[in-house]
Symmetry: C2
Subunit: 191 residues, 2 copies
DNA sequence: AAATCTACTTGCCATAGGACAAGAAATAAA
DNA sequence: TTTATTTCTTGTCCTATGGCAAGTAGATTT
């Protein structure tokens, strides 16, 4: 399970602990368009993506859907607030492409989380990193122009540009699809 | 220690556990302008704010400082990525006003975090909420106009408007101080 | 009390990006 | 292969916000 090995990396985790963790996951295949989570539901698992890409989004007051994130290979599709607080989510998580993933339920997660110290530490580090990345994204929204945000995405997550349609990338960057189309044109010209 | 009681709320935490947690904190007074953390340092503690307000910020490429957050009474001033990964921070955390806080070191935190299940759970929930709030802020940056973002801040965190100078609020909202000044004027007119 | 400083306001003009509408072009459906 | 549907591009015009510079008002220092 190479994806799980990539995801669950922590110095305290022994091979046999990793084995135990892996076994708590169930393989699941998603078809393009399938939902992992829908607004109003209470999350009861999270998914490690082995292949393909999913998108999380919310609706704003005007009914526009706003992409809050893209989750690809070796990443985790999760709504931490719904899962850990056991409250209804405001988010949708949907497969952008056909996907292979490994899903782990909250119950099993909880048992391992409290039984395996390294897993517990790993979880906290994962959350720390998520917070950091989200903070960086917020700063980028404030300081970078739309074209710079696009270029960064291009450098840092080229797979997103290949797998996601323009309109979703646009809302993720905080601009309209029209503007993104013009930005692409501009970048092509620059070469 | 009313601030600590407000902060450390979790159904699993017993009174004696709370007592133990409280005792691990040291009271510290800050003068306006004092730094809790500076870029390049590795965080080795976090601070529960009892009184006053601190601001976290980073510098962008152009040398402008960008406010990443305001932390007030009953909230926690922490750089999770630096503290838990033990890596140098990119952030500054500075007292906006004179402050009273309770500080806990990473070493003591670690011991309690692994000894007290309720504390461990509390920590995860705290991080989940932080992630959720940051996500909401990002969505707001994308979908709301500057004036709407200001009004929301006004409703949800009125203390910030009272304790922080306009220029810091402006960068937090992702606008210039000039624009924020005009927004305030506009809002006064509306009444 | 004069002299600095910092915080905030205001005016003028520039510009990035939005709104809307009309194509293309590609994909899916019939 | 013809029709629909979705995706992306392009044009025109508009608006929110930025850049810069000057001005006012408090606060702090000398």
């Amino acid at each position: 399970m190479p994806a799980l090995q990539t995801i669950y990396q922590h110095p305290l985790l022994t091979l046999s602990e990793l084995e135990t963790i892996f076994e708590a996951h169930q393989p699941v295949n998603l078809n393009k368009g399938d939902y992992l989570l829908k607004k109003g539901q209470v999350a009861n698992s999270y998914s490690c993506i082995v292949q393909g890409m999913v998108r999380s989004y919310v609706y704003d007051f005007n009914g526009n859907d706003i992409t809050t994130g893209f989750i690809g290979k070796d990443e985790i599709a999760i709504d931490v607030i719904s899962l850990f607080h056991q409250i209804p989510t405001v988010e949708y998580i949907q497969a952008l492409t056909d996907c292979k993933c490994y899903v782990i339920g909250l119950d099993q997660f909880q048992v391992l989380y409290h039984a395996i110290k390294g897993f517990n530490e790993w979880g906290r580090l994962w959350m720390s990193e998520s917070l950091f990345q989200l903070k960086q994204r917020t700063v980028s929204m404030i300081t970078d122009s739309a074209i710079d945000r696009y270029k960064k995405l291009q450098e840092q997550h080229p797979q997103i540009l290949q797998q996601a349609p323009l309109k979703f990338i646009a809302t993720y960057l905080g601009i309209t699809d029209t503007s993104l189309s013009r930005i692409r044109k501009e970048i092509v010209k620059e070469r």
